[in-house]
Amino acid sequence: MEMSDATPTPAAYTPFPAAGNIPDADREDLRRHGVLMTSMEELYNWGRSNSIWPLQFGLACCAIEMIAAATARFDIARFGAEIFRPSPRQADLMIVSGTVTKKMAPLVVRLWNQMPEPKYCIAMGACAISGGPFKQGYNVLKGIDRFIPVDIYIPGCPPRPEALLNGLVQLQKKIKGEKLSGPDAARFTRADVPSEFPIPEYGAHDLEPTKNPAVWTPPAPPSA
């Protein structure tokens, strides 16, 4: 077996984590010869992206579609995410499936804090994204991203199970592209980025505080 003697220049470095900086074309060539080359980072991301354990945590209507995604027809097990864990300590992914009320919001944040890193959050459905049809409600939190960072937003009311699967695939893509070291390393590898977030308290009229400015800033209105 002969190795390709083309040494990659730094300019040929691709964002995709390549093993030993060998170009993808060469690795593909090697693969056809029966040699698999990979990097620790790639192997690690490949493994964890294909065995995401979601938290078994349903809030409202979207939870039924989440269950439907887990049943025979849509079968989320094809994507390695069928093991719904009832305990946040064992979960990698929180699917916020449904309306987050102000009474529920502190508990969602608490569950998020209890999950170990690396952890990811999917806001499933219009309510979890922004309050959705219930936005006018006095007890409805206008988007879970006011308190915890959200990785994937899945619009819909409720989103179809296919949409949830698509969101899961997007998340897998994101995980596969994460760096484990270097200046652009993933969030969970950095010591300066918190993995726990302050839990809002029940106030006399509203949650206190109503949002976490470190996580969320309101969208800027158009300058006009």
């Binding site: 349903g58 409202a60 025979a72 027809r73 529920m104 219930f134 409720p158």
Partner: protein
């Protein structure tokens, strides 16, 4: 109790040294004093709102003596999304999509309950074909709800999902029909004041008829797996019993009430819609325990199949909307109306007060799931904490309706 609980062996585990965060929030009569030295301290356990077997964000605070429940208080409001307040600021028709999200497993029935009330308030009539279509949709919804409920109940019994997979297989077929008709899988938004929104095609009706024809076969398969199951019998018979007098006084409705032997089905009592034209029986239980509540669901599904077969046979041609019904700019006269129907979970009522404006002055939902929970503590007392999960599952709640 043969073995002393852990807390009596290890004084550090006793609840006295560690203040429990929820203890202060729950005043009420104190539980009975415990003298027996083999009994440890009472332990307060908060189940939910994130718990795999509380069917959503329901929470119950159980006080345990060993494994036995001596006090149980449900805590609500984790899905209180202000349906009633929003509806007061929305037009009558604008609230229809919100009723989908009330009981999100049976949106067709909730739609109908709301449409029924507005029709009662404004005196709108409904054409024949729409009446039949409503019954078809409501009974298909009942099939979905009861099949899923039985699946969830067995999930609570510890069968880890398998019966639920069968139930969801059938659910998907019916949900496909709803989607073909209304454009949405779950949130059908199908009923209108004075009729229905879309007329099903003959192909749709034929598909639905074949589905209903095959449904008893699914029920047979389901029952063969579940009904005689030894674990199921051991864990449900005699568990969570309710007497008929208790049930009536506590306002239980639906299959939970009929499991106690009280003959009260609004399809027969009120005879709303065209139900008096249909032949069906109302199954009644005898013991009021979890097993009877399970059997009610199975038997009601069989009766629903009978109703559906008659409906497909007799479905008349004609318009599906009352030509006089007005959807835009709908302003009923001042007054009030309370309309109710037999939803899959019990008596689903709407109480509307109109002041002549386009929005209701007061919009109230009578949620069967919430009121059926009134007796949850009585059902659970003396049973183990594992049984409380099964009892809760047999009551059949949907949190969107409990908290609204």
């Amino acid at each position: 109790m043969s073995t002393p609980p852990l807390s009596s062996l290890n004084p550090q585990l006793s609840t006295g040294s560690v203040p429990f965060p929820f203890a202060a929030a729950l005043p009420g009569p104190s539980v009975r004093a415990v003298h027996d030295q083999f009994h440890g301290d009472l332990l307060e356990v908060s189940m939910g709102p994130q718990h795999p077997s509380t069917h959503g964000v329901f929470r119950m605070v159980a006080t345990l003596d060993g494994e036995q429940i001596v006090k149980l208080k449900p805590v609500f409001g984790y899905l209180h999304r202000n349906h009633e307040k929003i509806a007061e600021n929305t037009t009558y028709l604008g609230s229809m999509p919100y009723t989908d999200r009330l009981d999100y497993l049976c949106s067709m029935s909730t739609n109908w309950a709301y449409a029924l009330t507005v029709e009662k308030l404004a005196g709108i009539t409904v054409p024949d074909r729409a009446q039949y279509l409503r019954i078809i949709m409501a009974e298909l919804t009942r099939l979905v709800n009861h099949a899923c409920l039985v699946g969830f109940l067995f999930n609570d019994l510890g069968t880890s999902f398998t019966p639920l997979l069968y139930a969801f297989r059938e659910r998907e077929k019916i949900i496909d029909l709803f989607e073909a008709l209304s454009g949405s899988r779950m949130m059908c938004n199908y009923q209108r004041f004075g009729g229905c929104r879309v007329d099903p095609t003959p192909e749709w009706l034929e598909t639905a008829r074949v589905l209903v024809e095959n449904f008893p076969r699914f029920l047979d398969e389901y029952e063969r797996m579940l009904t005689g199951n030894e674990i199921m019998l051991a864990r449900t018979q005699g568990i969570g019993r309710v007497t008929p007098a208790q049930a009536v006084n506590a306002g239980l409705t639906g299959p939970v009430l009929r499991a106690c032997g009280v003959d009260y089905d609004l399809r027969k009592v009120d005879g709303y819609g065209y139900y008096p034209r249909f032949e069906f029986r109302v199954p009644l239980g005898d013991h009021g325990d979890t097993y009877d509540r399970y059997m009610m669901r199975i038997l009601e599904m069989r009766e629903s199949v009978k109703i559906l077969t008659q409906a497909f046979r007799d479905l008349p041609a004609g318009p599906i909307m009352d030509p006089k019904a007005k959807l835009r700019g709908f302003r009923p006269k001042a007054g009030e109306a309370y309309g109710r129907l037999e939803g899959p979970k019990g008596e689903l009522g709407f109480f509307l007060i109109s002041d002549g404006s386009p929005n209701p002055y007061r919009y109230r939902v009578r949620p069967p799931s919430l009121i059926n929970l009134t007796l949850l503590e009585d059902m659970c007392l003396g049973h183990t904490i594992a049984d409380s999960v099964v009892i809760l599952g047999s009551i059949d709640i949907v949190l969107g309706e409990v908290d609204r």
